[in-house]
Subunit: 408 residues, 2 copies
Amino acid sequence: MTTQFKWLFLQSNIVNLTPDMHQPAKLKELEKINPFRVMTVMHRAAALEVKGRKIVHMEVGEPDFNTATPIIEAAKNALDAGFTHYTAAAGIDELRNALAGHYLERYGVTVDKERILVTPGASGGLSLLANLLVGEGDGVLITDPAYPCVRNFIQLMNASPQLVPVDRSQNFQPTVQQLEGAADSSTCGVWLASPSNPTGSVLDREALADISSWCTDKSLHLLVDEIYHGLHYVDDLPSVLEIDDSAFVVNSFSKYFGMTGWRLGWIVVPDYAVDTASILAQNFYISPSSIAQHAALAGFMEATRLILEQRRQNFRERRDFLCASLREIGFVLAEEVQGAFYVYADISAFSENSEQFCHDMLENHGVAITPGTDFGDFKARQFVRFAYTTSMDDLALGVERLRRALHA
Amino acid sequence: MTTQFKWLFLQSNIVNLTPDMHQPAKLKELEKINPFRVMTVMHRAAALEVKGRKIVHMEVGEPDFNTATPIIEAAKNALDAGFTHYTAAAGIDELRNALAGHYLERYGVTVDKERILVTPGASGGLSLLANLLVGEGDGVLITDPAYPCVRNFIQLMNASPQLVPVDRSQNFQPTVQQLEGAADSSTCGVWLASPSNPTGSVLDREALADISSWCTDKSLHLLVDEIYHGLHYVDDLPSVLEIDDSAFVVNSFSKYFGMTGWRLGWIVVPDYAVDTASILAQNFYISPSSIAQHAALAGFMEATRLILEQRRQNFRERRDFLCASLREIGFVLAEEVQGAFYVYADISAFSENSEQFCHDMLENHGVAITPGTDFGDFKARQFVRFAYTTSMDDLALGVERLRRALHA
């Protein structure tokens, strides 16, 4: 057992700090904010690689492709043209217009460009919306499991994530009945993701409409994380904006557009929130990256679209292969993994402790995966997340290693 | 009088929102967060330019130079090399090492690279530190005037900015006696800036040492905004880290390194805060821009240093010209404008209302400047901020216009 692999041995995820006379009071309140276990997995995998081990990376929440060439070329042109200065806090008009066009073309919905704010990554957008929407003492309904930043942003507002456990039987998305049951007088809103990280499940048109109506009835805000839109393998993936123009949307150039390292995303807010959101944007980050914004314009070119759709096809093939292989080995998956690049797999056949399982797979079998405990509490020790953000060759190697490990 | 020029007519800066059944509770609490008046000045100046008016821009808080060529070229090389992915949340090792080297070379102080976190702009760093250091109900001592985001970040923590009025007679920096007088049992820290926006004044070695000792005695944290370091015109400009290794520092590649649109900065934190700061970084922004980080490495090349020092010389010449001219016209300035690219000027000879004064100068004389009311309350109607972020030709034109306007 290695000391580097710390997370397995932490009794809890509380951050321990060396006492010091200078230690400011506020650090104490941050005990609720957990480090991501996936980071520990990545660091440990890197350490093993330094020692010469071949590791199959199925933990990484980032496309393995470099950014598409037309976007790279657009960035270089922007650099030559001197676009190295601050932009408007809400982003350059060209990009906001392109995004409005994207909503019209892809979803058939008219979104006024004034309602679209370009942000420094989806993280910047989510942080802004947390400050805009969540007050001290508020409750926010979220699924368990969910992307871990979501509950952390809520906790940073001194508010409470109100967890709605979601299971395979319900495609890992909540019902109105569940939301109703988990809500109380403190509840201010509902934050969902479609497609979801870690489960890859989507909210269909009917589910979105039901939840939207319920939110309207209860005067709750509705926020939908759509950052994996475009990386979906179902025919119909509605944006919540097609159904509810009072909803808040977070999106990103990281995943479908393959621009992780550029740190660029966007949010869509209802009319009445535009001014306040813009003021927060000025305060929080002055402007998103000028270079990334000019580069992102090329994301809407036909040449880029062809590359991105080809990559989506690659992800689909990897999904097909990985899902079939994992099922064969004995993992239990959702009926259909619908989007993103994750498979959330039930490991009950092999282990009752997902952290121990991930530790064992990495240390003894060279396969890096993320324990369910990164994403919540509900059955978190019974699930792991596989990311298919690596080549088919590596996926095949990983599957072969898992097969040998689990059927020895 | 134009309706576009809204800020002049706002009774207060409260953000008014159209009532709506979907309006979430939290928006109400944001009433304390003010929009920046400088934004309104910039928008109005742009609108006048569209109509064909020549405007002299002395409102812009951003160097007018494009990013230096070696940095641009480094960015292009990074793009070609495929550095388009997430990096570690604290930044790439090469850049953290370069920054550690910068502290050793420029300040003669050893700063472990682990204590340096690269951030998405100084804004990202300041936001992170606010979350790290400031709890609900805390008080934070800051100067009045100060950079407006500072009080906004404190207010977003449901904490109180404790304003220490600073005047020309004290070089716009606080004394320990003043801090002592403004502190109370809620006070958790002191946030200062050297050089300061909007005043351009610096904290000398003795002042820093006094304030640091006082903070240590009182168990308060000390945070110093050093984002204008490098753009100073005094011989000795110490970093607080030379004096106090428990202090927190915010810095930026925007100003001296001329990389505003890239959104890259850094913070330095004491050892005991590194882990928690890193966890917040993961949550808040995953990683800073990979492209900007690789580009910034070129900021430490000799060829770049020569360009940046030449620009600093340009700023110094502009400062000399602008200060002399403004004094001649009848503005009252600090004895010595020591750093940044701002002159904070007392307009008592001409007006008792800085907002009206700025409105008049822009609308009737084509000179864009920022009213003191953007930076606080203390004598804010008696001061305006001039930025010398435009060419000498334009500065000369601006001065000529002011002379005609005020000595007609």
